[in-house]
Amino acid sequence: MNMMISMAWRNIWRNKVRSVVIMISIALGLVAGLFIMGLYEGVLNDRLNTVIRQEVAHLQVHHPRFQRDYEAVFCLDSASRLVERIRSLENVQAVSARTVAPGMLATSTGSAGVQILGVVPVDEDAVSGLKQKLIEGEGFKANRHNQVVIGRKLADKVNLRLNSKLVLTFTDIENNLVSAAFRVAGVYQSTNAPLEERLVYLHAVDLNRLMQMEDACHEIAVLLNRDEAMTTAEQQLNRLYPNLLIENWQQLSPETKLMIETTDTYSIIFIVIIMLALMFGIINTMLMAVLERTREIGMLVALGMNKLRLFMLVLWETVILTLTGAPFGLLLSWLLITHLGNSGIDISSISGAAMSGFGFSSLIFPRFPWSSLPLVLYIVCITALLASLVPSFKALRLIPVEAMRQ
């Protein structure tokens, strides 16, 4: 076996230029594939972070009927006690109680349908980083009533500025229509344009008063200190509050979950396509190598090399040729992705608006797809094995006495 591998290795270097070219092709193919995977992973990781740390958090607690009907009456009573209890659980980093009301925003120049969230500013900052997203104003100030924080998209749409007045109309807990005037205390910007246009934040005290809800909320968002703790925390909450609806981010944002699952598949399909293209290059190279050595192969069979050994010799050559290029491709990919992962790729000038429209940041930080690496290496090995079949069978079909005449 050692002699076979040694022969295979030396055979590869008979035509150095040809072998190096195919190794470079394999390396570049891997770089292309892994870079695309890294890009996808970076985008999705960023999106996932946004979903968890800016939008829905890891877990949410609702009245079982609230998500279905969105009626104010389906609220969680004794919200402050509930929040304190949840905050004391293991792995819980921050908790924010939200009062939710679909409503209409009106100004002197226009109107828009909005989702009103009544929040405790400090808690909401800890869960969704509301304060960090402010690009204008300082947000909610103590001892001031009827302040509102709106998104930049909404502000542009209805021509609102800092300190502008607006009227919000919504229904209270008894289904009465309530209208109240608010002053813009801050404008926030997020990577999710649709949310930026829809979500407006009020102080929970103001909204609860107007909706006649005392110490109640519709939604409790729970942010954990690590993603892996989600299942345990979810089970714990389900045990503690069997009558409430506990949902994780995958249930709250199924489109994100679907995106992660399908993008993994797309990445693999992409790698497979690249490897298929490379496979034909490898087959071509190995066929040339076999045809150039027709006489030698005939001689080996004449001397007594059996078909299995001959097959293994060509197979080893193909596998070594392929796998020699692979480490360079992996190293190059890692260097490229790590570098761009630190500096980021700004695509705002190309498709920033489109990315934002789907809730993605236009500054992408690719991440090396470590989790997919075993699968990628498996695909490379399969490519090598499949590519070896054609030249191996070609070698097996040679008839020694005819091969030696060439």
Binding site: A302, G304, M305, N306
Partner: protein, 242 residues
């Protein structure tokens, strides 16, 4: 005497459906162990074809070839490969050493294919290189060896598996006189010392003069079969039935 090759009514025709060329025509031949035989004849007389048939590289259309008790015409392709590995040594006109292996590795390859123990492989290779006088060139690649040296390595490779028969197709054709003479000395010495059977096709008068039996082929048939006791005495032992 111990018969090592018994060829009976062997015929081989190329292009049987188009323009048939009878390369070997009803050949009967017996070779005893330890013979040093030359197959001679003009180009196209069937020397190489007969060697290929005896070596199991080609199959005859009719007849049988029994080598050391095995009728090789009845063996499958895979069985033939194994038979060649264990019973036949080949020396080719163009040396045909594997360029990416050193001289020693070329010789050892055959024994590795036979799955011989490593220590035995090393020992046998050392002995053979000593016999061919190339101990100092064992780790040299074929491209760095002269034609004569390459052919000596090819002889060592042919002998490595301790075959029943060594078949050499025009072994001196690409060699100068000195190298050819040197090679013949070695082959003749190995023939005597290891009692190994050598059959070689040749046009080379120097080789013919060193052979102890000369079989002449004309148009695929054995025209004469002459054995010599030594270089000064010859006598016919058998002629072709026709």
């Amino acid at each position: 005497m111990d018969t090592i090759i018994d060829a009976h009514q062997v015929t081989k025709t190329y292009n049987p459906k188009a323009i048939p060329v009878v390369a070997v025509n009803d050949v009967h031949m017996h070779i005893e162990r330890g013979e040093f035989t030359a197959l001679v004849g003009p180009s196209g007389s069937g020397k190489t074809t007969l060697l290929n048939l005896i070596g199991g590289l080609d199959k005859p259309d009719t007849g049988s070839i029994v080598i050391h008790g095995t009728d090789i015409t009845r063996l499958s392709a895979n069985q033939l490969i194994d038979f060649r590995l264990r019973n036949i040594g080949f020396v080719f006109q163009a040396f045909n050493l594997i360029p990416v292996l050193s001289a020693r590795e070329n010789v050892e390859l055959i024994m590795q294919l036979q799955r011989a123990p490593k220590a035995e492989i090393r020992k046998r290779a050392a002995i053979l290189f000593d016999q061919i006088g190339l101990t100092d060139k064992m780790d040299t690649r074929p491209a760095q060896l002269s034609g004569g040296q390459q052919q000596r390595v090819a002889v060592a490779r042919a002998l490595a598996s301790r075959p029943q028969v060594v078949l050499a197709d025009e072994p001196t054709a690409n060699l100068d006189s000195k190298s050819a003479s040197n090679l013949l000395d070695i082959m003749s010495k190995l023939n005597r010392e290891e009692n190994m059977t050598f059959i070689f096709s040749t046009h080379d008068q120097r080789v013919i003069e060193r052979a102890r039996r000369v079989i002449t082929l004309v148009d695929g048939k054995i025209a004469s079969d002459t054995a010599r006791v030594d270089t000064s005495h010859r006598h016919d032992v058998q002629t072709n039935p026709e």
